[in-house]
């Protein structure tokens, strides 16, 4: 073994994909026992770099060293043999297996032909005690929270005695409380001598726990900085290449007539016998941004689906521009002036195997602008897509004919936002529009939402991010267990008070 200062070094890594250099001469050096953040915008090449380290891709050129000795990582098994483990953004767990079974999957301890889980259970319990990873080894993965699933993933790495732990945007799916918990766990791990690579674009988290940070922009390595010696502003400037304002700039709202009026709406749940949305009433007016805040899974998804027609309501009325649309089809609602930026851009927002231009007309291909006698006007579609791409700065490898699947998450989201805003809707329903995006894109999307409001449109924003809720909205409705438990003015409330409402500890409306 060499006695290098660094446990892992990725030197001058270049990775080319057809039409693009995802990594261009990137160098990343990880010290033993440090938390090293990898910061970059969507599509900057962070995931590609980590996939190379984990053996999922081979670099076009460059070298990887462990403890000063060159190594070849051809597949995840090689990575595992070098004690490199990774928690993916989307967990790789078998839903119908218990936590313990998931942890030992692939390296099951056996006695003859039979599993012997006793030793494994002891090891898992010891590990979870040592690092403060609270899980019930016998619970089914499908029954536990996202935070616990993530702890299971971390235990999987520890069980394999991994020394180098990669976390790919670990906080994207967590609630604020779970994020705090994870931060503690990561600190613990580093103190115990594990080396951590932490992929993120959330600056607060980097400032809170990292020792050093390497910044990527458009595949190039911008630099590595000590967190002690830097500021949030400097990091974001290095990441985006310009100054970014964290404060949403907006004038006071000019509230006009009602666009959406919901009366006593109840929506049954698809997963349990209770109602997901219980007897909810509220209004949204022209010229205001109303935000529905709440912890994930408190009925926001069902509420939005009921408003946009994806799910049926069991009682109550939805009025839109004075008309009862409770039973209207999705298409009718869309036609009457409702736009919907969906929560899950891959499930609902895009047909991933369609080209960008085909996706751009997903909500309006049937309009006379784009079809004649049932035939799609290819020229008009192309022109329209090119205009949106230009106007909303949607970046892709091949322009209008790029397959949506091959685009980066941020640009996929921009495409959806372009499509929905360009419909010029009376009501824009935006569900977590900035989820998983970098500060540059978030700033842009917030500006678009405010611009809609200032044009006299109504915006209904559903968000889990407290900062977003406080900064963007004109009025906050808090949802807890399917009910609206409070209406707050962001100017007059605090994050702490909002948190109490979200946790169900406080309520104002009956």
């Amino acid at each position: 073994m060499g006695n290098s200062e660094y446990i892992i070094e990725m030197l001058n890594i270049t990775k080319e994909f057809p039409g693009i250099k995802a990594n261009d001469n990137v160098t990343l050096q990880l010290k033993k026992g440090e938390i090293h953040a990898l910061l970059g915008e969507n599509g900057a090449g962070k995931s590609t770099l980590m996939s190379i380290l984990f053996g999922l891709y081979q670099p076009t050129s460059g070298m990887i060293k462990k403890n000063g000795k060159e190594v070849k990582i051809n597949n995840p098994n090689d990575a595992n043999a070098l004690n490199i483990g990774m928690v993916h953004q989307h967990f790789k767990l078998v839903e119908c297996f218990s936590v313990l079974d998931n942890i030992i999957l692939g390296i099951e301890p056996t006695k003859g032909l039979f599993l012997s889980k006793k030793g494994a259970r002891e090891k898992v319990t010891a590990l979870s005690d040592k690092y403060g990873l609270k899980v019930n080894p016998d619970a089914l993965v499908s029954d536990i929270t996202v935070g616990m699933q993530q702890r299971t993933e971390i235990l999987k790495m520890l069980y394999r005695d991994n020394e180098i732990l990669i976390f790919d945007e670990p906080t994207a799916v967590l609630t604020p409380q779970e994020i705090d918990e994870l931060m503690k766990i990561m600190k613990n791990l580093a103190n115990e001598g594990k080396s951590i690579l932490f992929i993120t674009h959330k600056l607060n988290e980097i400032m809170a726990i990292s020792d050093r940070c390497t910044i990527l922009r458009k595949g190039k390595c911008i630099g590595t900085v000590n967190i002690k010696d830097t500021t949030k502003e400097e990091l974001s400037r290095m990441m985006v290449g310009r100054n970014v304002s964290f404060k949403v700039d907006k004038k006071p709202a000019n509230v006009k007539e009602t666009v959406l009026k919901v009366e006593n709406m109840t929506v049954p749940s698809k997963v349990h016998k209770n109602n997901a949305v219980k007897n909810v009433s509220f209004e949204v007016h022209r010229g205001e941004i109303v935000c529905i805040a709440g912890i994930d899974g408190n009925g926001q998804t069902e509420l939005v689906h009921a408003l946009t027609g994806l799910e049926k309501i069991s009682s109550g009325t939805v009025w839109f521009d004075g008309a009862d649309i409770s039973k209207a089809s999705i298409r009718e609602r869309s036609k009457s002036g409702m736009s919907h930026i969906p929560e899950d851009r891959h499930k609902h927002g895009l047909v991933l195997d369609y080209t960008l231009e085909q996706n751009m007309v997903l909500q309006r291909y049937w309009e006379s602008d784009f079809q004649k006698a049932g035939f799609i006007k290819q020229g008009a579609v192309r022109e329209y897509a090119e205009r949106l791409i230009e106007q909303y700065d949607v970046r892709s490898g091949q322009g209008p004919v790029t397959i949506a699947r091959s685009m980066s998450g941020g640009n996929q989201q921009k495409a959806i936002i372009a499509r929905e805003i360009d419909k010029n809707p009376d009501l824009l329903v935006a569900v977590q529009p900035t989820r998983g995006l970098d500060v540059g894109a978030i700033e842009y999307i917030h500006k678009q939402l405010v611009a809609q409001r200032d044009k006299g449109k109504a915006v209904l924003l559903v968000s889990l991010e407290l900062d977003e809720v406080m900064d963007v909205s004109d009025r906050i409705l808090v949802m807890y267990e399917g009910e609206l438990v409070g209406e707050l003015d962001p100017e007059k409330t605090t994050v702490e008070e909002l948190g109490l409402y979200m946790a169900g500890a406080k309520r104002t409306t009956a």
Binding site: P18, G19, A22, P342, K347, G374, R405, S406, S408
Partner: protein, 383 residues
């Protein structure tokens, strides 16, 4: 140079054809090995007969290939069309059977002109396709299960209707098949425009042109119309289609109905050309024409224009297999070779990946540094 050509066309068009050709070549090589295994002396001779196909026995062979190809194009289209909506139409055989009944009934009993009979075949097939579609859309019953059951229900029902204890009015006691179309109702035979004389056959009609026209129409529907746009959206991502306000239930039913209609026309083209008569006692197996639509659609990667060529190829080697010297080889050898090719069809997608990698590997050196920021982000690209 290649770089000038539209990248999209290059990747989707040329690589698809290349992938299908790789399948065919490997399939043929395996066939050759099998021939060697059975009789090494005559293997090359037999192999060349298979390769020559219809050309081995000019001009009759070509006529035979053409008359076999027409219905195969239709069943291939039927399967390919359903694939586009994300449905697996394993019921093409049953729809084909019902189409045969429609064509024969309107021809032998009602003595209608051929185009009316063909419409009847289409309608009968459409109904049989619609049923699994309705079950799928409104009761969430997997279309494969329903279609397989309706294959057998269709087959035995049709046999019974035609046979009726040897009393059926389409049933000819002497031949134990349905009556010969040319004797009973000549106006129901699809016109041949002199092609029978040209190829010295009895059943080479304009059916092949009707099938090719159908393929072109289906190509246009899928690629140029809003209807095709909706169908494909449903096939790729049902949830996103719903989000876009597309009525996915209606599209499932329509897709299966059209798929059934295409299979029905296939049977019409076959029986109204007088290629063969229906034998209700022997026909206890579903018509192979229906099932062969599946490999044709796979080989063509569900491209309607590709279906024309895939069907031509399958007919070509099937006919070629018929010319194997029976002294040394069973004619079923051709079936084995087709089966190998069909088996390899399942790997077409795999080969396509190989071809794309090979091409991009070569292009990589020339590729300029693209200034755009596209999704080379691993998690998006690897799905």
């Amino acid at each position: 140079m290649k770089n000038k050509k539209s990248r999209l066309n290059f990747s989707s068009g040329v690589t698809s054809v290349a992938a299908s050709l790789i399948c065919i070549i490997i399939g043929l090589l395996v066939g050759l090995v099998i021939l060697y295994g059975i009789n090494s002396e005559n293997a090359l001779d037999g192999f060349s007969r298979i390769i020559k196909g219809g050309f081995y026995l000019m001009p009759k062979g070509i006529g035979t290939v053409l008359s076999q190809t027409a219905p195969l194009i239709m069943t291939g289209l039927s399967v390919a069309f359903a694939f586009k909506t994300g449905l697996f139409n394993i019921g093409a055989a049953g729809q084909y059977t019902l189409g045969a009944l429609g064509a024969l009934y309107f021809a032998l009993v009602l003595h209608m002109p051929w185009y009316v009979c063909l419409l009847a075949a289409m309608l009968f097939g459409a109904v049989w396709g619609a049923i699994p579609g309705i079950f799928k859309a409104y009761f969430n019953v997997n279309e494969v299960i329903t279609a397989i059951m309706f294959n057998w229900i269709g087959l035995y029902a049709v046999n019974e209707i035609i046979y009726r204890g040897a009393l059926g009015n389409m049933y000819d006691l002497k031949t134990t098949k349905t009556y010969s179309l040319r004797n009973v109702s000549p106006q129901s035979v699809i016109p041949d425009l002199g092609m029978n004389q040209l190829f010295k056959t009895k059943s080479t009609t304009i059916a092949i042109f009707i099938a090719i026209a159908a393929a072109i129409i289906i190509y246009i529907i899928i690629n140029k119309t809003t209807f095709g746009y909706e169908l494909k959206a449903c096939g790729h991502n049902k949830e996103a289609a719903r989000y876009a306000g597309i009525n996915e239930k209606r599209n499932i039913v329509l897709s299966m109905t059209i798929a059934g209609a295409l299979s029905g026309i296939g049977a019409g083209l076959y029986y109204l050309s007088g290629v063969a008569e229906w034998n209700p006692q022997v026909s206890t197996a579903l018509p192979a024409m229906g099932f062969n639509g599946i490999p044709v659609a796979l080989l063509a990667l569900s491209n309607p224009i590709g279906v024309i060529f895939a069907a031509l190829f399958v007919s070509h080697i099937t006919v070629g297999g018929g010319y194997l010297p029976t002294k040394y080889f069973q004619p079923e050898i051709a079936d084995v070779i087709i089966a190998v090719i069909i088996y390899l069809c399942a790997f077409v997608m795999l080969f396509k990946g190989v071809v794309i990698n090979a091409v991009s590997g070569r292009k990589k050196k020339k590729a300029e540094n693209d200034p755009t920021d596209n999704g080379a982000d691993g998690k998006e690209a690897d799905a």
